[in-house]
């Protein structure tokens, strides 16, 4: 039987990541010095669920780790620990480790075992310190409760059984006297006997001595006790397991038959007493099912010829075997899934105890770590962010609110009504009904539009999915930097396309880091500047004209315009006699490799610069702007399209073909003045537009089609921008602007350079959507002109 465990595994991971977020946010809500059980309980439950789920798939490392965290939380819950900052930090880092482990499982990669171990040891230490404290108080009472033995001689016996060679003596004598109330916990002696009978030949003697008279009999009480003899090479543990759930509810003496002979003299009276009673008549059979069944089992042993029961037993055994084989195959599946990480971990685990033993080793590790502490902390935070990003981007299912699904169903209902209405009109159509037809079509159009909007809404997630990680990030970073920062989130319910949201994670994290790192000043600087000691970082999302705007604003130092200017001149992006506006200067921070002197050390090693931020945002069809005021703070505004599936397009015609340009990429379109066209080294045409030279790309040429005209002045030049460069596309004419539903070209055909995707127009024909950045790249590779920025053409003299 094929068992789809992958689905359950996905579910487990999804659930666990949610639990991790819960743990994290609750940890941040904990107040120091205050034992708030509600929060701790929530955190505990989340850890507990992760552990439980991990158990299904034998993710041993996760189980152990979650258990360590759980132990500490349990103690906190019981008020054995004060909530301290260090405890919260420890738990927060254990949340990171769990997240890392889960991500590793999800992507089938390795995780940082050392870090996990370090954290786990810290967790152990934290709860151990507590144990030590406790044991100091309680003196030696708190010996580790490894065995659950009640009777002192039981453990001696198990030692004995271990020393006795298996096979020589076979069987156990069990004296079993249930408490009178045992039945009320749902435990039935019959079931225990049946289990024992599975182990080997069973002989049962019942003691009915305690049985009251019929009138006094309480049917809920258990008055019987038994002597059980089970024969065969049976391990003690198998017997213990059977009685595991009742050992606290009964008197239980288990002795090995081998040593029995020797012991017999020690317990003679009881023995004899019981065997005598066996002979007694049991008159209450009818009233007590247990007894009648007991008799049956007794008979099995007394009369081995009773084949009937033997076969039922066999059938049961076979059934068990069958179930087992199915389960084994399922287990193998699970093992296949988790093989690598588990194996790797178990190896590491083998090493760990040795490490702990050799104290010298651990000292070495410690001293090694001290100098690198600061860098490793920085790395930790980055890693945390990184791993969450991965988890976000890899999630390929969406949770959709019931309301959204309901409204879709409504919408479809309306569509069906409209359809049947049109159907009716069509059946008996005459000219008088033309108005009805028009109405019906208008309704159909409305339905279609609403349905489209609603289907799009399914892909929309509230931006809180992304914002919610920032409290943690800001907490960690501000502690690390020694700054006081208050984070304000607003508009978290603003919805954004899932893909857009996921791809925005990195840029947002970068901008927030920048704001904390370079924007907000140290407390003393802020006080000196007459500002509140606590810096404010505000993340705000809202709708504006069919776009989503995300603003990251801080009330920090703002940009140092002079330093940007110096840097731009130094990088030869600006001439020393040019004085651009502040806005133009801010734009330089988005240039690759551009950073003001102070930033260099902090930014290094992070791998993402503002140029990457802008590139990512542009790849999503968005834009980013900066406003800043020295001493007052800065605001980054990111403008994003609502969805990636629909874009506002400009239809353009080239010969017989219609192409679509994303409206966002168009800067302007103009009639060509032939006087302003220049030739650059004979390979490319450039158009001089207000002191800028813009390369001209003739679309008919690059797509090898016949155009209506080859004369530039007879067509139009559409100036577009992609990848930070501008280019003029020569087309025959501009057609309408409309919303375009994007169809992937790659999945239906193949990737074509210069074309991003396709769409189907109203008349059913296919139109290709142009990829501006791709076209620019194509143009450069054709003309062999190195990619240039328009600015760098400044000052080059061309012949008129």
């Amino acid at each position: 039987m094929a068992v789809d465990l992958t689905e359950i595994r996905e579910l487990f991971l999804e659930e666990s990541f949610e639990n991790i977020d819960i743990m994290e946010s609750s940890l941040l809500d904990l107040e120091i010095g205050n034992v708030d059980n509600e929060f701790i309980n929530t955190i505990f439950r989340a850890a507990h669920s992760i552990k439980g789920g991990a158990g299904i798939f034998n993710f041993e490392h996760i189980i152990h780790f979650a258990h360590a965290a759980e132990t500490l939380l349990d103690e906190m819950r019981n008020g054995e620990h004060f909530v301290t900052q260090s405890l919260i930090d420890l738990l927060l880092s254990s949340v990171d480790v769990l997240r890392m482990m889960l991500s590793a499982v999800q992507e089938d990669t390795d995780y940082d075992v050392q870090e996990a171990q370090k954290c786990q040891e810290e967790l152990h230490q934290a709860s151990q310190e507590n144990q030590e404290k406790k044991s100091l108080v309680e003196e030696n009472v708190a010996s580790p409760p490894t065995t659950l033995t009640k009777e002192p001689f039981k453990s001696i016996e198990s030692q004995q059984s271990a020393t006795i060679e298996p096979g020589i003596k076979n069987g156990w004598r069990i004296l079993f006297k249930p408490d009178i109330s045992m039945l009320t916990t749902g435990n039935d002696p019959i079931n225990l006997f049946r289990e024992l009978a599975h182990l080997g030949e069973l002989e049962i003697k019942v003691d009915t001595n305690q049985l009251p008279t019929f009138l006094e009999l309480d049917p809920r009480a258990c008055y019987l006790s038994w002597e059980l003899l089970v024969y065969g090479e049976i391990e003690r543990i198998a017997i213990d397991e059977i009685f595991e759930w009742v050992e606290d509810e009964c008197e239980l003496h288990i002795t090995n038959l081998a040593s029995d002979i020797a012991e017999k003299s020690t317990l003679p009276s009881k023995e004899e007493q019981i065997s005598e009673e066996t002979a007694e008549d049991i008159t209450l059979d009818a009233e007590k099912r247990e007894e009648s069944e007991l008799e049956r089992i007794k008979k099995i042993q007394l009369d081995n010829a009773d084949k009937n029961l033997e076969t039922t037993q066999k059938a049961e055994l076979e059934k068990a075997e069958f179930d087992k084989s199915e389960i084994i195959s399922a287990q193998e599946d699970i093992k296949k899934i988790v093989d690598l990480p588990v194996d790797k971990h178990s190896k590491d685990e083998e090493i760990s105890p040795k490490k702990a033993d050799k104290s010298t080793d651990s000292i070495e590790v410690d001293t090694f770590q001290i100098p690198s502490k600061e860098t490793s902390e920085t790395k930790d935070t980055t890693k945390h962010i990184h791993s969450t990003t991965i988890h976000g981007s890899e999630a390929n299912s969406i949770r959709v609110g019931i309301d959204k699904v309901d409204s879709l169903i409504n919408m479809v209902g309306e569509l069906v009504i409209t359809q049947s209405m049109l159907d009716q009109i069509g059946e008996h159509f005459d000219n008088l009904q033309i108005n009805n037809l028009k109405d019906g079509l208008a309704q159909l159009e409305r339905n279609t539009r609403e349905l489209q909007e609603n289907v799009m809404r399914i892909r929309m997630l509230p931006i809180s999915y992304s914002f919610n990680r920032f409290p943690r990030l800001v907490h960690d970073l501000s502690t690390q930097l020694g700054k006081n920062v208050e984070l304000k989130l607003s508009g978290e319910q603003t919805e954004l396309d899932k893909t857009v949201l996921e791809k925005m994670n990195d840029p947002l994290v970068h901008l927030v880091r920048n704001a904390l790192d370079h924007g907000i000043e140290m407390p003393e600087q802020r006080l000196a500047a007459g500002k509140s000691e606590i810096g404010l970082l505000h993340l705000h999302a809202f709708h504006q004209g069919g776009n989503i705007i995300i603003q990251i604003s801080d009330d920090g130092a703002g940009f140092n315009v002079n330093r940007i200017r110096e840097k731009a001149i130094q990088k030869k992006l600006l001439k020393s006699d040019e004085y651009p506006t502040n806005e133009q200067l801010y734009d330089f921070i988005f240039q690759p490799g551009f950073s003001t002197v102070e930033q260099v050390s902090d930014l290094s090693g992070r791998g993402v610069g503002m140029d990457v931020v802008r590139r990512n945002i542009r790849a999503l069809g968005g834009t980013i702007e900066v406003k800043s005021q020295t001493g007052k703070g800065s605001i980054f505004s990111i403008r994003l399209p609502l969805t990636l599936a629909i874009l506002d397009g400009q239809l353009v015609r080239v010969g017989q073909e219609i192409y679509i340009l994303p409206l966002l990429s168009i800067i302007e379109s103009l009639r060509v003045n032939p006087k302003l066209v220049n030739f650059l080294a004979g390979v490319a045409e450039v158009y001089r537009l207000r002191e800028e030279y813009i390369p001209i790309l003739r679309l008919y040429d690059i797509f090898d089609i016949t155009s209506s005209t080859m004369q530039l002045e007879q067509g139009l030049l559409v100036i577009v921008e992609g990848d930070g460069q501008k280019i003029g596309l020569f087309v025959d004419e501009l057609l309408s602007q409309q919303q375009i539903v994007i169809k992937s070209l790659e999945s239906n055909y193949k990737k074509v350079e210069g074309i991003s995707s396709a769409t189907i127009l109203g008349d059913g024909s296919v139109a290709l959507i142009l990829d501006v950045a791709g076209l620019i790249h194509l143009f450069h590779s054709r003309t062999k002109v190195l990619p240039t920025r328009p600015k760098s053409l400044l000052g080059v003299h061309y012949e008129q």
Binding site: S49, I190, L192, A320, D323
Partner: protein, 123 residues
């Protein structure tokens, strides 16, 4: 033919419930799911289950309270109720017993053990 035994499983984790259901269905038990103690109690009142498997740490009504509530109902006075727990500490076991639980299964458990345990308490 023997009627299929009806089992009520109660756990707030969807994946845990899925796994339990899968295992139990394969072993020919009829499974009903509950996502918290209150939910389980409602279901139990309106039906007659042969066995109840419940998680301990749950929102709304926790596992131990659920056991106590169930034991107060005449139809569940003697029914087997197993706790699914990750806590194996002795005092926790005592609490489980005091509440009236038949036994406990320590998570993680493998499907074999689960079925064996169930067979142990079902007739």
């Amino acid at each position: 033919m023997k009627m299929m035994d009806k089992i009520l499983i109660c756990d707030d984790s969807v994946s845990m419930r899925r796994m339990l259901k899968l295992t139990l269905n394969q072993a020919n038990y009829q499974v009903t799911e509950a996502e918290n103690g209150l939910n389980a109690l409602e279901l139990a009142k309106n039906d007659q289950f042969d066995l109840i498997l419940t998680d301990v740490n749950m929102p709304k009504l926790d596992g131990l309270s659920l056991v106590r509530e169930l034991r107060a109902l005449p139809q569940y006075q003697f029914k087997p109720i197993l706790l699914l727990t990750t806590e194996s500490a002795p005092d926790k076991k005592k609490m489980a017993k005091a509440a009236g639980a038949t036994g406990w299964l320590i998570k993680p458990f493998d499907p074999d053990k689960l079925l064996a345990a169930i067979r142990k308490v079902l007739r």
